[in-house]
């Protein structure tokens, strides 16, 4: 009696497995982990010496502020970079990006921005401000090793114009840094963000 049950169950399971496979083949679906819409990650732990962690935190704030400042351009300035990626303004942008990102990524980002400005042709969004500050509201784990570091945090920018300040939306970031030993500075090697509110 017991053996019959086992054989019956084996038939049942085999049927379900085969039908799942046939269904997957028919639809072209590849099995894998399910994706999620909001890429919000769980906070992690700090790792590394306290002084190094503080240094990395300061560097991240400086680097992201500097990166944002590079977008503080009028429509005419954006258009001129799009039209001539070798003019003075464009070279200044490229040098600025190289002080934020690792070199290969800086040049790739520069090319993407030039293409953007070329396509927008002076008709794209224009935001200018007197100053910008990155406010980190929650550090969620900073890991520092010899030549690299990674950090997860929630932050927003605050823009000030004509004495009035306004905050931007909150984003959770995961940033990887590489230490440039020659210059003795941290540079961004990758950046991934999930908005906590959608645009």
């Amino acid at each position: 009696m017991k053996r019959k049950h086992i054989i019956f169950a084996a038939g049942l399971v085999t049927g379900l497995v085969i039908l799942s496979g046939v269904s997957a083949l028919a639809t072209g679906y590849k099995f894998g982990p399910l994706p999620f819409s909001a890429g919000i990650s769980q906070p992690g732990e700090d790792s590394g010496s306290e002084s190094k962690i503080e240094e990395v935190k300061r560097s991240i704030v400086d680097l992201l502020q500097k990166n944002m400042e590079l977008s503080n351009l009028t429509k005419n300035e954006q258009q001129s970079i799009g039209l001539d990626p070798e003019n003075e303004l464009a070279i200044s942008l490229q040098n600025g990006l190289r002080s934020v990102w690792v070199e290969s990524l800086a040049d790739k980002t520069f090319d993407e921005i030039v293409t953007l400005y070329k396509n927008e042709n002076g008709q794209g969004p224009e935001f200018t401000w007197d100053s910008v500050q990155l406010e980190v509201t929650d550090w969620q784990g900073v890991v520092v090793s010899k030549g690299s570091a990674s950090a997860r945090f929630v932050s927003h920018f605050v823009y000030t114009s004509n004495g009035r300040s306004a905050p931007d939306q909150e984003t959770q970031w995961e940033v990887n840094l590489t230490r440039n030993s020659t210059a003795g500075v941290w540079l961004i090697a990758s950046r991934k963000g999930a908005d906590l509110e959608d645009h």
């Binding site: 639809t27 999620f36 819409s37 008709q123 963000g193 959608d198």
Partner: protein
């Protein structure tokens, strides 16, 4: 002879289990019921339950924080007539459901227990693709005025932060954008100031909006290194299936 008979009996029992499995799959809806997609019906639903500056969501559904895919799924199901699917593979399922559960304080509350594809942007996209409910995909340029979307199409957005596609909205129609400015985060542009004040309009949840420009997220992004990587896909649902 007795050995053969015994083995044959076992085979019969095994086959019986196999047939029952087939029956179970069929009974639980291994294939979806037929549908005829009503894009204008989806738009009517979206206008009812997405409002600028006011929470007007359909109380029959839970509001799920990052609610964009939940809202689009509601629109194309309740308004558009796209039928639930409870397929063989969980990734092919597409349905809304809730169950009651106790929270930490012992209080009973409704929690979401439907399919992943109802609430997840990428899972919804996969579900539509793998079930042939998607008839075409367009890739508009985000900076431009655009009016090529049909009522009831789905806008799917990659916000350029290396997260992939993470937001969806429902394309409603073409026309003038609302004279409205999101109160937060500020200062963002008024809808009516974008691409001459008209073009394809969308309705969405999470930051609830209606009569809004399809590319509003692009026009609110200051960081050029992010804006340069933004992408949108327009998903068109097959008219019938």
């Amino acid at each position: 002879m007795k050995i053969i008979s015994s083995a044959f009996r076992r085979l019969l029992v095994f086959a019986f289990g196999f047939i029952i499995a087939c029956g179970l799959v069929a009974a639980t809806g291994g294939s979806a019921s037929a549908y005829s997609y009503d894009g204008l019906g989806a738009v009517h639903y979206a206008h009812l339950y997405a409002c600028n500056g006011v929470d007007c969501h359909n109380s029959q559904y839970l509001y799920l924080g990052s609610d964009c895919a939940n809202f689009v799924s509601q629109s194309i199901h309740d308004g558009g007539g796209l039928t639930y699917m409870r397929g063989v593979s969980s990734v092919l399922d597409w349905y809304y459901d809730t169950t009651t559960a106790l929270d930490r304080t012992g209080y009973s509350q409704n929690v979401y227990s439907g399919s992943q594809s109802w609430v997840s942007v990428s899972a919804l996209y996969d579900q539509l693709r793998f079930t042939s409910r998607l008839s075409s995909i367009a890739n508009p340029t985000m900076s431009l005025k655009y009016s090529g979307a049909n009522s009831g199409d789905i806008y799917m957005y990659d916000w350029g932060k290396d997260e992939g596609f993470s937001h969806v909205a429902l394309a409603t129609d073409n026309g003038s954008f609302a004279n409205y400015q999101d109160p937060f985060p500020s200062p963002l542009p008024n809808y009516s100031s974008i691409t001459g004040g008209s073009g394809s309009r969308m309705a969405q949840h999470t930051n609830d909006r209606d009569w809004a420009p399809w590319n509003y997220g692009y026009w609110g992004e200051r960081d050029a290194s992010i804006r340069s990587k933004m992408r949108t896909k327009i998903l068109r649902i097959a008219p019938a299936g």
